[in-house]
Symmetry: C2
Subunit: 190 residues, 2 copies
DNA sequence: ATTGAATGAGACGCTATAGTCTCATCAAGG
DNA sequence: CCTTGATGAGACTATAGCGTCTCATTCAAT
């Protein structure tokens, strides 16, 4: 029962904090159908709850990321699979966007930087394979992938897109953009 | 002097709230080099300050958007110019991302919806001109443009990119994506 | 049936912060 | 010089929300 309670609190906290990052412990407990004291028994403090939630989100993201990368033979394909995986896992980390208190948590902030840095490595590897446009800086590639993943997760959360559809569209947009007319400036000669 | 003070408060509030959406009035006043009472004299309450800041950001965005659209002859070009303009104005509205309290403010939320809806109109018009890939839903076009603008503004704010560079990259990514090899599925036959 | 762990309910104290009010100061204009 | 309006400083109050503690209850395992 202890585990189920813990999970219920984390889940309720995730959805509640996504709606409003300042949601009170009392409100979270109510939505988890749990006494307020129970939340403190499990997580010690509000910050502890947020930390646990963030740690869980990071672990989940790492997990799907690793699995995706393991199935790829090229860096370009790894980039594609990782992107899809992260979009699929969006629900677990989307609350982090607005969790301002967590910026102070060294452990969390560092994990986020690490994940971005791993993404940057993947981008550089894909660049060496010739997949990435040479005129675009790696920092922007990472930033825009991040932005498109974010947009995809939000669209899924808002019910505008299904998960699979979002995964397809995010990657398609990263790779080829939204324009029908391709300029093909950097492709092979026609 | 009254106007200068007001502006100083708004500016300080913008940068402070961007760093931490829960920044206290006291802190904002200190950073604006103003007495805390002065903030209340001007804006009545913390919510009033946020509202004023949001109204200002919306007005600013509307302004640059209208100007940009006025100089375009095609919808596609308008979309390009508007996107650039919004990236350029990012500094004024970026704090809104994390301002959870403002979601309750009917006026603000509605203005944001209106701006997205205007963007959607522009996208549909550009689609009629043949610029937008027919296999991508308009909702995703809007969402991904939003995401890329957000990424661009953040990159500028973080000092990773200059404003002009970000404007170029955002539009280039929207239009053509990041891949060197273009599949040209929807372009003219080769 | 008994025991122990987990829980729910709620009282209580504490702190941070919003918001009000007063008073002294300062600058500008007449 | 005098007046007026804006400001800064700070005291004060009220409240929301965190965290602690206690006690009764429930439920599972023995």
């Amino acid at each position: 029962m202890a585990l189920a309670t813990r999970e219920r609190i984390l889940k309720a906290a995730g959805t509640a904090l996504l709606r409003n990052p300042n949601t009170t412990v009392d409100r979270i407990a109510t939505e988890a159908r749990v006494g307020r004291a129970t939340v403190f028994r499990h997580f010690g403090s509000r910050a502890g709850l947020l930390r646990a939630l963030a740690v869980r989100a990071i672990a989940e993201t790492d997990s799907v990321t690793r699995q995706a990368a393991a199935h790829a033979c090229t860096a370009t394909d790894a980039l594609r699979l990782v992107t899809r995986a992260v979009v699929g896992a969006g629900e677990s980390f989307r609350f982090l966007d607005s969790a301002a208190e967590l910026q102070d948590e060294l452990e969390i902030a560092e994990a986020y930087r690490r994940q971005l840095s791993e993404l940057a490595d993947l981008v550089r590897a894909a660049r060496r394979e010739g997949f990435i446009r040479p005129d675009v800086p790696t920092a922007w590639v990472v930033a825009s992938i991040d932005g498109l993943i974010w947009a995809g997760c939000r669209a899924v959360g808002d019910g505008e897109l299904g998960v699979v559809q979002a995964q397809d569209l995010v990657w398609e947009t990263i790779a080829n953009g939204l324009s029908a007319e391709r300029k093909r400036r950097y492709g092979p000669a026609e």
